[in-house]
């Protein structure tokens, strides 16, 4: 079998790389450009709708430095030609200990460009005893 990757996987990997690169290395305002105009973000359970609201939320997170380390990323093409992405990794903020996180993205091709229409973020922190 050839090593050629499926196109949806390549697009997904490109998005994930660009997203976390901008997240970690810029003031995060530019992240809004990766979202569609009416995109939805659910950040630790809080909803944000629209590119501007999402960009403002991400840019105003209260820390100076953040670093994401991706452990695994999974991709699926959907029946309506979108791309579903699940990212599982760790992040470290300023001098805090690292924490696990999960993030799910939906990408849709709009006007010949891929944009994120849905984004769900959660820290991997449990609060119910087993």
């Amino acid at each position: 079998m050839a090593c050629e990757k499926e196109i949806w996987r390549k697009i997904g990997e490109g998005f994930v790389q660009e997203y976390y690169n901008q997240f970690d290395n810029t003031n995060r305002m530019g992240l809004g450009n990766l979202y569609s105009a009416d995109a939805c973000l659910t950040w630790e359970g809080s909803p944000f709708q629209g590119r501007d609201n999402i960009a403002a939320k991400l840019a105003n997170l209260p820390f100076k430095r953040i670093k994401h380390v991706i452990t695994e990323q999974d991709f699926q093409p959907t029946i309506d030609s979108c791309i579903l992405i699940m990212v599982f990794g760790q992040l470290q903020v300023d001098d805090d200990p690292p924490m696990a996180f999960h993030q799910v993205f939906m990408l849709k091709s709009q006007n010949c460009a891929w944009a994120c229409t849905n984004d769900v973020f959660r820290l991997g922190v449990h609060n119910i005893p087993v």
Partner: protein
């Protein structure tokens, strides 16, 4: 650990700047050990311990022991991602507010933590114990005992100097906080102020009380 054989489930939350030793403090309390490396918790952000609480009445009499199941919640930075009004913050009954005796900024930030507490905790004057941690690092001390004590007095809360490294005052602090919380409960006939889920009474607080049925209704 979560079997139902206890009288009360009590949640405490450790607060304070990054690096003041919250995780180490809780680890020292529950396990009696110090781990100078970060314990990269795989998801769980609280520790649990069972203790017996004996109230001392105003007449000096000692009541029967209450089995307390304590959950000690850590905030290892997740508060920067979540709103501080999330349930885990609201649900805490008592607070361990830590600063680092070798880091003056962490002491100055105690004021910010107190105002956050007053906004987001279940009431405006929750039970808090202020801890000046890392008192074993005497040669690096940047905050004097006097100024810390003065600040605690201003807020009307107890102050202790602690060391998560050698265990000094760690048990003492949690005992003092538990005592404050239990005393508050005893004072409170109507327990409607108690946030849902913070105190789970498995049995009546005071079997002789005529308000028994009311108490159980409100505390559950």
């Amino acid at each position: 650990m979560s079997d139902g054989d206890y009288d009360y489930l009590i949640k405490f939350l450790a607060l304070g700047d990054s690096g003041v030793g919250k995780t180490s403090f809780l680890y020292q309390y529950t396990d009696g050990k110090f781990n100078s490396k970060f314990i990269t918790t795989v998801g769980i952000d609280f520790r649990e311990k069972r203790v017996i609480y004996r109230s001392t009445g105003s007449d000096g009499s000692s009541g029967k022991g209450q089995k307390i199941h304590m959950q000690l919640w850590d905030t290892a930075g997740q508060e920067r991602f979540r709103s501080l009004t999330t349930a885990f913050f609201r649900d805490a009954m008592g607070f361990l507010l830590l600063f680092d005796l070798t880091n003056e900024q962490s002491f100055l930030n105690v004021r910010n933590w107190m105002s956050q507490l007053q906004i987001h905790a279940y009431c405006e004057n929750p039970d808090v114990v202020l801890c000046g941690n890392k008192c074993d690092l005497a040669d690096q001390r940047a905050v004097s005992e006097e100024e810390a004590r003065e600040l605690a007095e201003k807020y009307g809360i107890p102050y202790f100097e602690t060391s998560a490294a050698n265990g000094l005052n760690v048990n003492k602090v949690v005992d003092v906080l538990l005592d404050l919380v239990m005393k508050r409960m005893e004072r409170c006939v109507d327990k409607s102020w108690i946030p849902d889920g913070t105190v789970r009474a498995n049995g009546p607080l005071n079997p002789d009380s005529s308000e028994n049925s009311d108490r159980n209704k409100c505390a559950c």
